[in-house]
């Protein structure tokens, strides 16, 4: 219990299979997405740079030719160019900045590029002008001039962004699908385990005939046959034990029958016997009676443990049943305080024996029964049996239902078999009810039997 609280709860088998699938798929798809993204971005950027450079080189050539032609002005040369939409041209000629668009002051290229171009080499750098991304190509012209072409890369950026989003979505989708696949696979793989659990529960519930179905799966056939063999073995053992109990009790019953019958014949002729043998005979009779009751209780206990057959169960009125039990023990009908019908599904003779045992117990240990209360609720029928004794100490209240709990002390002629309350507990349990020992309102002992009520309208 305490280790559960300290350690974080471990995932179930199903959860772990699902998690493994999901993490695996996430790693693979993430790796794939990142590499596809990096490669694609590099390739696309490279392409764009090269085409921008090619275009700028052509344009620079054209401008140079125009400038060197007679009557060519920088303004006219730039105006004669027909660049693609969004592309801006900036020309540095004789220390002047010339652009095709005069409405605004020119956006000068970055210093890195200008230094490079001044040094005499062509360069290309990404540059942002008024929040718009461009690739700026700088080409040196003769006589210290320079040609700069700003190619817009908004589309490239958005293409790369969309690619990124798509790849991320794909990775997420792959991860989720893998998790679902994992869930499905684990369910499928664990289905035999579920069957095993259900079968085991059914066997634990007393249905010893349950077996696992033998399926064609090689991986499972070993566990299935081991399980079935184990249950076969268990059933054989239980059968053997039951047969043994049956045989033993039969073997005991036969000589006991002869003994009981013969002793009764002797007692009938007790007047013909001298005093001493007659007293000895009474001892034999008493012990024989005790032995007989003990065997009866043992048999009843064994039979109760075997469970109730549904065809033995019938609707019974506990009010009527308790009335008969109390009457047979010589109690006045006023002892019984009942409301409701108190009808439960049960086996009459078993319940008669159980309640008789409760009454016997009260008479043996606590001066008899003073009150029996029957209450019928929506779901249950409660029976309180209150005695006239000093009550049962708290620590003893569970123990009294154990077998031979009465111990050996104080055995009189009316001694119990030590099985009476154990039989009560077993009987009540197979009827789906409970029995507890508590205090009666006046401090005596109260045994409360709660049984499920019979289905009613």
């Amino acid at each position: 219990m305490s280790t559960d609280e300290v350690r974080p709860r471990r995932l179930g088998l199903r959860g772990r299979v699902m998690l493994t699938f999901a993490v695996g798929a996430a790693l693979v798809s993430l790796l794939l997405a990142v590499s596809v993204f990096t490669i694609s971005r590099g390739y696309l950027t490279d392409q764009r740079e090269r085409s921008a450079q090619r275009l700028a080189a052509g344009d620079a050539d054209f401008v140079t030719r125009r400038l060197t032609a007679p009557g060519g002005t920088p303004k006219a040369a730039v105006a004669a160019l027909d660049p693609p939409a969004g592309t801006k041209i900036l020309l540095q000629w004789s220390g002047e900045w010339v652009s095709a668009d005069d409405t605004a002051p020119p956006d000068l290229p970055p210093d890195v590029l200008r230094a490079e171009v001044t040094g005499g080499s062509t360069g290309i750098v990404p540059f942002t002008v008024r929040d718009s991304p461009y690739l700026v190509t700088g080409i040196p012209l003769p006589d210290g001039g320079a040609f700069y072409e700003y190619a817009p890369v908004v589309e490239l950026r958005s293409t790369i962004r969309i690619l990124g989003v798509i790849l991320a979505a794909c990775a997420a989708a792959a991860t989720i699908s893998a998790a679902l696949l994992g869930l499905w696979a684990s369910r499928r793989v664990l289905r035999p385990l579920d069957t095993l659990a259900r079968t085991a529960a059914s066997i634990a519930g007393g249905n010893l005939g349950s077996r696992l179905p033998q399926e064609g799966d090689r991986d499972l056939s070993t566990i299935v046959s081991s399980f079935n063999t184990m249950v076969d073995f268990l059933q054989q053992r239980i059968d053997r034990e039951q047969r043994f109990v049956g045989d033993v009790t039969h073997e005991l019953r036969t000589p006991l029958t002869t003994l009981v019958t013969s002793v009764e014949v002797m007692r009938k002729h007790g007047a013909e016997l001298p005093d001493r043998p007659r007293r000895a005979l009474e001892l034999v009779h008493t012990e024989l009676d005790h032995l007989r009751r003990m065997l009866d209780d043992l048999l009843a206990l064994a039979r109760t443990e075997a469970g109730l057959h549904h065809d033995e169960v019938e609707p019974l009125s506990l009010v009527e049943l308790l009335g008969h039990v109390l009457a047979s023990k010589g109690y006045a009908s006023a002892v019984l305080d009942a409301t409701g019908d108190g009808v439960v599904p049960g086996r009459k003779l078993a319940l008669v024996r159980a309640f008789t045992n409760l009454v016997d117990n009260a008479e043996r240990h606590a001066g008899g029964v003073v009150r029996v209360v029957v209450r019928t609720t929506e779901e249950r029928v409660l029976v309180h049996v209150d005695d006239d004794g000093p009550g049962v100490p708290e620590g003893e209240r569970d123990r009294v239902f154990e077998r031979f709990a009465t111990g050996r002390g104080g055995r009189g002629s009316t001694a119990g078999t030590g099985l009476g309350l154990a039989l009560v507990a077993e009987t009540v349990a197979v009827h789906g009810g409970t029995v507890v020992c508590t205090d009666a309102p006046d401090g005596a002992a109260r045994f409360t039997v709660a049984l499920p009520r019979a289905p009613h309208d």
Partner: protein, 235 residues
Amino acid sequence: MSLNVLIVEDDDRIRASLRLALEDEGYGVEEAASAEAALARIGSHGTPDMMIVDLMLGGMDGFSCIRGVRQSSDVPIVVVSARADTHDVVAALEAGADDYVTKPFEIKEITARLRALRRRAAVTSQASAPAELVLESDGEDPLVLSVDAGTVRRGDHPVHLTLTEFRLLCELAGEPGRVLSRTALLARVWDRGFFGDERIVDVHVRRLRTKIERDPAAPSVVVTVRGLGYRLDVH
């Protein structure tokens, strides 16, 4: 005149002690150590007044013994069962036994059962009930109960009932149309109280139906009233 009881029991000591006890109670006792011996004894000396049969016998078992006796006789039979198994008792009753006790029994249990059976036999021989009662008149062969003659006829054919079956039918026919609880029937026919085994009633009703009903699977004379008991319908 003392009643003759035939004890069929393979255990010598139980047989001997039963003989002592029953002779003390005033019964005439005969013994058979096996089912075969019992059937032979009945074949040569005629039926006893009552029988006590142990179910666990060497050779032919108690069930077969009862069936064998029932072929020719309706003598009251009390079965002694060592096993408390539900099935044993029901099977013995179905074979034709009238009542049962389980080992180890007290002799007063056996004598109580024997007395109840004797009382039954005595009542049926009294001529106090209405002479004839037609239980089922629709169809070709009416079912007629003659209480004083102790017979049941289907048309011209006599229906053979054991004494217990006959007595059960008489109790039900005594109040036609009224439901009798199993506890009440147990008390009236078997002299057992609330604590008796109601399966005795159920099995006897089943046996009775196979003999008097046109279709025992769908009884119309002795009908079951679920949760209450049985009722005899005259029609």
